[in-house]
């Protein structure tokens, strides 16, 4: 039952990403609901289901958007290791900031990797567009979205879990 609900939620997440997110662009970047969704799963459920969710949403997203599934999977790959590495670095920042920085780093990686696909097929590499129109607005969107998702859950009394895999009995 839990798996069925989780699967349905992932399908809805992907459909929202392809049908709704492109309606709210900021320059060339669009909100990445999948990225934030995976991060929220890792924080408020545990990293293990998030690790399962990554390939599932990557394949479903590639189906819905006609992108290469392998490239989409690679795009979302750095998010969880980035969150783990950031946690292990023991920087003097709270859990919210850790999660936000990991999401921003993961978002930058995802947008860069997804931009590589068209570039290998002839699109011109334009540094200005990538930084000014894609990565910077993407950072704002990812940070804002994570805040919108994170804070209400935190205010509701839910405690963000750690990224270490011992807790999830991996």
């Amino acid at each position: 039952m839990k798996v069925a609900i989780g699967g349905a939620a992932l399908v809805l997440l992907v459909l929202t990403q392809v049908a709704v997110a492109p309606l709210f662009p900021l320059r060339a970047a669009i909100p990445d609901l999948i990225l934030v969704g995976v991060m929220v799963i890792a924080l408020y459920w545990s990293p293990r289901p998030a690790m399962v969710a990554v390939p599932v949403v990557a394949v479903l997203f590639s189906f819905a958007s006609d992108r290469a599934p392998g490239l989409v999977l690679l795009a979302y790959l750095p998010l969880l290791p980035a969150a783990y590495v950031l946690e292990q670095a023991r920087l003097p920042i709270n859990r919210y900031t850790q999660a936000a920085v990991a999401t921003v780093v993961g978002g930058m990686a995802a947008r860069l990797i997804l931009a590589i696909g068209p570039m290998t097929q002839g699109a011109e590499f334009t540094f200005g567009v990538i930084t000014k129109d894609l990565l910077l607005p993407g950072t704002v969107l990812d940070w804002s979205l994570l805040t919108l998702a994170y804070l209400p859950l935190r205010l509701a009394g839910l405690e963000a879990s750690r990224m270490t895999l011992y807790r999830s009995n991996y």
Partner: protein, 276 residues
């Protein structure tokens, strides 16, 4: 080691990504993609229908002044166009009479078109793809030409399923269309560039701001004479071999909700693929 577990997971995912790439290239995922799209297209359409008015409101709220200016400009343009339509109707009647007299068939652009609703749009700095709610069951094939409801060039069908299809818009960075300037007949290639901008490359000849660009028909992948856009900027020095020409699409691709697939025109690429 905890970190090694993330490493193992990452290694498995990279292997899976490679596997998916190979399987995807071989087309083995297509049946699953077709089923997924068949099931989810109504949900996609519903979500899009709910949120599009909100997005339109937010987009327009910040642009009231520019919308007023645009409205004023469009009213003037509309009057001018109505005058031209009257003239063109008279010319069309004359051409029809002459065609009948000379027994010439009409061009392919006036042929059978299948109307389809835009379900969603995958748009980023380098990608501009839409999906529609019509597919192979309606006679749509990969490679067919897609027009706006007013007949301007929108893009090309890239992949079809039973009840849905993907269309690469002309602003996608992989899109290239043989085109020409209406007045000077200068030939070139309309190409999508980063950030969904159109450029008119390899254009030799006189190109001015405001010139209309249409498909040239060279290569056989698009019928000749389909409107694409207007020249918005001409860069570089006049003595340059190729000027840097930016083009504004005639159709506002971001707000297109209905498109027409030109099923009566068979592009050269479909002919080549069909040959044994």
């Amino acid at each position: 080691m905890i970190s090694s577990r993330y490493s193992v997971w990452a290694a498995i995912m990279v292997t899976l990504a490679l596997g998916l790439t190979i399987v995807g290239q071989a087309g083995l995922l297509d049946p699953f993609q077709g089923i997924f799209l068949k099931v989810t297209t109504p949900v996609d359409s519903a979500l899009n229908g709910i949120f599009r008015p909100v997005a339109d409101f937010l987009a327009n709220a910040g642009n009231v002044n520019s919308l007023e200016d645009e409205n004023r400009r469009l009213r003037l343009e509309n009057e001018d166009l109505q005058n031209r339509v009257t003239q063109l109707k008279q010319d069309a009647d004359r051409v029809k009479e002459l065609e009948q007299a000379l027994k010439i068939n009409q061009g392919a652009t006036s042929g059978i078109r299948v109307a389809a609703n835009v379900v969603n749009r995958d748009s980023s700095a380098f990608t501009d793809v839409i999906s529609i709610d019509r597919g192979a069951n309606d006679g749509i094939k990969a490679g067919m030409v897609v027009l706006s409801s007013q007949g301007s060039l929108v893009g090309t069908v890239t992949k079809t399923f039973g009840t849905s299809a993907f269309i690469r818009l002309i602003t996608d960075s992989k899109s290239k269309v043989a085109a020409q300037v209406v007045d000077s007949k200068a030939d070139g290639i309309i190409q999508g560039e980063a950030n969904r901008v159109l450029s008119f490359g390899l254009a030799q000849g006189d190109v001015k701001v405001g010139d209309t660009i249409v498909t040239s028909g060279i290569g056989g992948n698009y019928p000749a004479g389909l409107p694409i856009g207007k020249v918005s900027e001409v860069g570089g020095a006049p003595q340059d071999l190729f000027r840097k020409v930016k083009v504004e699409p005639i159709v506002r691709l971001s707000t297109a909700r209905t498109v027409l697939v030109l099923t009566s025109f068979t592009p050269q690429r479909i002919n080549i693929e069909a040959q044994p």
